[in-house]
C-alpha cells in the first residue's frame, strides 16, 4: 500500500452548520437496523396485526358484513378496536422484540468498539449523539405503532359510507404510541449505555418485561386484586390504553389507570436522566 504520489489534495467545499446536526447518526442507525439479518422478517411479523385489524375495520364498516361485526366484541366501537389493536399480546411482543433488535446495540456497540471518540471528535455534543441514537429507535417504534394507527383511521375513512370517528381515538392514536415508544426507547438505550455486552442487554430487557408480568399475575391471582397489575410493564400499557381510549368500566375506581401513566412517565424520565449521566461520564 504505497503512499500515493499525487500527494494530498485540499477540499474546497464549505462545511455547513446544520440545525439538526445529529441527523446523519439517525440515518445511519436506521440503515444499519434495516440491513441487519432477518430485519425484513421481523418487520413483516410486526406489521401483521395491522393487516388483521385492517380486515376488522372493513368488516365493521360494511353493512353487509354486520353479522360478523356482531360476533366480534372488539370491533363494536372504534375506541375498543384501537385499544385492542395497540394492546394485543402479539403486537406488544413483536414491539418488544423490535425494540431489542433495533436498540440493544445502538450505544453498546459504540462502547464495545470505543467509537464514541470518533463521534465526539466531530462537532457533536454528547446530547447530540444521544438524540441521534434515540431518534433511530423511536423511528422504528413509531413506524409500527403511530403510522399503522393513522393508516387504520384512514382505512376507516375509505371503507365507511358515513365516516365518523371519535376525537379520543384520533388523539389517543397519537399519544399512546408516543408514550409506548418513549418508554421503550429510553429503557433500551439506558440498558445499551450500561454494558457493551448485547447478551446482558437482551436478558435484562426481556427478563424485566416478562418477569414483571409473571409476578403481577401471580400476585393478582393470589390476592384477587387487579391493582397489582401495575407491577407489570405490559399491564401498565394496557391500563394506559384503557384510560387514553376511554375503554374502562366507568363505575369502578380507576386510580390504577392514572397511576399506570404516572409510573410510565416517571420511569421514562428516570431512564433518560440515567442515560444522560451515563454518557456524560463515558470516557472518550
Amino acid at each position: 500500500m504505497p503512499v500515493r504520489e499525487e500527494g494530498y489534495h485540499k477540499w474546497n467545499g464549505k462545511l455547513k452548520e446544520k440545525f439538526i446536526n445529529w441527523f446523519p447518526i439517525t440515518k445511519n442507525g436506521i440503515s444499519y437496523v434495516y440491513h441487519k439479518k432477518k430485519s425484513k422478517l421481523l418487520f413483516y411479523f410486526a406489521s401483521m396485526p395491522f393487516f388483521l385489524f385492517l380486515i376488522a375495520i372493513y368488516v365493521s364498516e360494511k353493512p353487509e358484513l354486520r353479522m360478523f361485526k356482531n360476533l366480534i366484541k372488539q370491533i363494536q366501537t372504534d375506541a375498543l378496536l384501537f385499544k385492542t389493536y395497540y394492546t394485543n399480546g402479539f403486537l406488544m411482543f413483536m414491539l418488544v422484540i423490535l425494540t431489542l433488535f433495533a436498540g440493544a446495540e445502538l450505544i453498546s456497540r459504540d462502547l464495545r468498539y470505543k467509537s464514541l471518540s470518533l463521534y465526539l471528535s466531530r462537532p457533536l455534543t454528547k446530547l447530540d449523539y444521544l438524540k441521534g441514537k434515540f431518534s433511530t429507535i423511536i423511528f422504528y417504534l413509531l413506524l409500527f405503532t403511530l403510522l399503522p394507527g393513522y393508516l387504520l383511521i384512514l382505512a376507516k375513512f375509505l371503507f365507511a359510507e358515513h365516516f365518523s370517528i371519535s376525537i379520543t381515538v384520533v388523539i389517543g392514536s397519537f399519544f399512546y404510541p408516543l408514550l409506548f415508544s418513549m418508554f421503550f426507547s429510553s429503557f433500551i438505550l439506558m440498558l445499551s449505555s450500561f454494558s457493551p455486552s448485547s447478551r446482558f442487554i437482551n436478558i435484562v430487557f426481556i427478563g424485566t418485561y416478562f418477569v414483571s408480568d409473571i409476578i403481577a399475575k401471580i400476585l393478582s391471582n393470589i390476592f384477587h386484586i387487579s391493582f397489582y397489575n401495575i407491577i407489570s410493564i405490559k399491564e401498565l400499557f394496557v391500563n394506559s390504553a384503557k384510560l387514553i381510549f376511554g375503554v374502562y368500566d366507568k363505575s369502578r375506581n380507576i386510580v390504577d389507570l392514572y397511576l399506570s401513566i404516572v409510573i410510565i412517565l416517571l420511569l421514562t424520565i428516570v431512564f433518560f436522566v440515567t442515560i444522560f449521566f451515563k454518557i456524560k461520564k463515558a470516557e472518550v
Binding site: 500500500m1 504505497p2 503512499v3 500515493r4 499525487e6 500527494g7 494530498y8 489534495h9 485540499k10 477540499w11 467545499g13 462545511l15 455547513k16 452548520e17 446544520k18 446536526n21 446523519p24 447518526i25 445511519n28 444499519y32 456497540r109 459504540d110 468498539y113 470505543k114 467509537s115 464514541l116 471518540s117 470518533l118 463521534y119 465526539l120 471528535s121 466531530r122 462537532p123 457533536l124 455534543t125 472518550v284
Partner: protein, 309 residues
C-alpha cells in the same frame, strides 16, 4: 491569538482524574508547523490533546485554538481540527468508504461531497483497493490509515494525531510518517502528534514538546537538535584507566556504569581517528557502536532533570 501567529494557546491548565494530577499548570503557545508531543507513558500527552479538543474540561486555566475558546467553542473547534485517536476506535460492520463519508457528513459536509472526498482521502492513504471491504477485516496498519483518512476527510486546519504509528510494522510506519510529512507540506496543515517513539518525532517534527508527569518541561527545535555537529559513540576498551579518559578528553568523554566510554565525536572527524588514537596510546577497541540520537539525549536529560527536580 492567530493574529500573533499562535494557533494554540494554553494558559495555566490543570486537569486531574479524581486524585491523579494529569496536567499541572500547562502553559503552551504553538505556532504553525509540525509539533511532536513526546513523553514517557503517563506523561499526560493524550490528556493534553483531549483538553485541547474539548473532550475534557480543565479544572483550571484557559486556552484557545485558532482564536476559539476551548471551553465555549468546542463544536466550532471540531470543525477546524481532525483527530486521530490512539485507541482502536472504528465503527464495525461498515466499509471504509461508508465510515469515512459518514464522519464527513456528521462534520457538516454535504452527503455527495462527503462520499467524493472519502474516496479521495482513502486513495491518498493507500486504502483504495480495500475501501469497500468491511473494516472488521482490516489489519492494525490499515486501521491506522483509515483513522487518518477519517481525520482528514473534512480537510481540517489542524491535525491531532495520537500515536499514529502505534502497532504498525516498520514499513507501514515509514509510510505513515511519509504521509504525515506530505500532509503538512502539500496540505499546509498544522500537525500535532504524540508519540513515545523518538525517531518518529525526529523524522517528521519541526519542534518537539517534551512532557513528563503532567508538565511541559521543554520545547525544542528539532532542526536545532539535529544540527548539533557531533555524533555520540560508545566504545569498550581493553582497559579503562585514567589515562584512557585523558586520551579521549577532547571528545567530552564519560564513563558509563556498564564500562563503556561515551564519546562525542565532531562530524568533521572521521571515526577511524578514534581507532588510531586508541592504538597510538596502547589501547584496543573491543566494541564500537553509535549511541543514542541527539533527541534521545535531550529527552533523557530533560526527563532526568525533571524527575530530580
Amino acid at each position: 491569538m492567530e493574529k500573533n501567529n499562535y494557533i494554540i494557546k494554553l494558559k495555566e491548565i490543570d486537569f486531574s482524574y479524581e486524585n491523579v494530577i494529569a496536567l499541572n499548570n500547562i502553559n503552551l503557545s504553538i505556532r504553525r508547523g509540525i509539533y511532536g508531543l513526546l513523553g514517557p507513558n503517563g506523561a499526560g500527552k493524550t490528556t493534553l490533546m483531549k483538553v485541547i479538543l474539548g473532550f475534557l474540561k480543565p479544572q483550571k486555566g484557559e486556552g484557545s485554538i485558532l482564536d476559539h475558546d476551548i471551553k465555549t467553542f468546542s463544536k466550532k473547534i471540531r470543525r477546524l481540527i481532525g483527530y486521530m485517536p490512539e485507541i482502536d476506535s472504528i465503527i464495525p460492520d461498515m466499509d471504509a468508504i461508508s465510515i469515512t463519508a459518514y464522519m464527513g457528513e456528521i462534520t457538516g459536509m454535504p452527503k455527495h461531497e462527503a462520499i467524493k472526498r472519502a474516496h479521495e482521502v482513502l486513495f491518498y492513504v493507500g486504502l483504495e483497493d480495500e475501501r469497500y471491504r468491511s473494516v472488521n477485516t482490516y489489519s492494525t496498519g490499515m486501521r491506522q490509515r483509515l483513522k487518518l483518512a477519517i481525520a482528514l476527510v473534512h480537510d481540517p486546519d489542524i491535525l491531532f494525531l495520537d500515536e499514529p504509528t502505534s502497532g504498525m510494522d516498520p514499513t507501514s510506519r515509514l509510510e505513515m510518517l511519509k504521509l504525515i510529512k506530505d500532509i503538512s507540506k502539500k496540505g499546509a496543515k498544522n500537525i500535532i502528534f504524540s508519540s513515545h517513539i523518538l525517531s518518529d518525532i525526529e523524522a517528521v517534527g519541526e519542534k518537539v514538546i517534551i512532557m513528563n508527569r503532567g508538565k511541559i518541561i521543554s520545547i525544542e527545535d528539532i532542526q536545532g537538535v539535529n544540527s548539533v555537529k557531533y555524533e555520540t559513540y560508545e566504545i569498550k576498551l581493553n582497559n579503562i584507566t585514567d589515562k584512557a579518559l585523558k586520551v579521549f578528553s577532547n571528545f567530552d568523554v564519560k564513563k558509563t556504569d556498564k564500562g563503556y566510554l561515551l564519546l562525542k565525536i565532531p562530524t568533521n572527524i572521521p571515526v577511524y581517528e578514534i581507532f588510531k588514537i586508541a592504538k597510538d596510546n596502547g589501547f584496543y577497541i573491543r566494541e564500537f557502536k553509535k549511541s543514542k540520537t541527539s533527541l534521545e539525549e535531550i529527552f533523557i536529560k530533560r526527563i532526568g532533570e525533571n524527575n530530580a527536580g
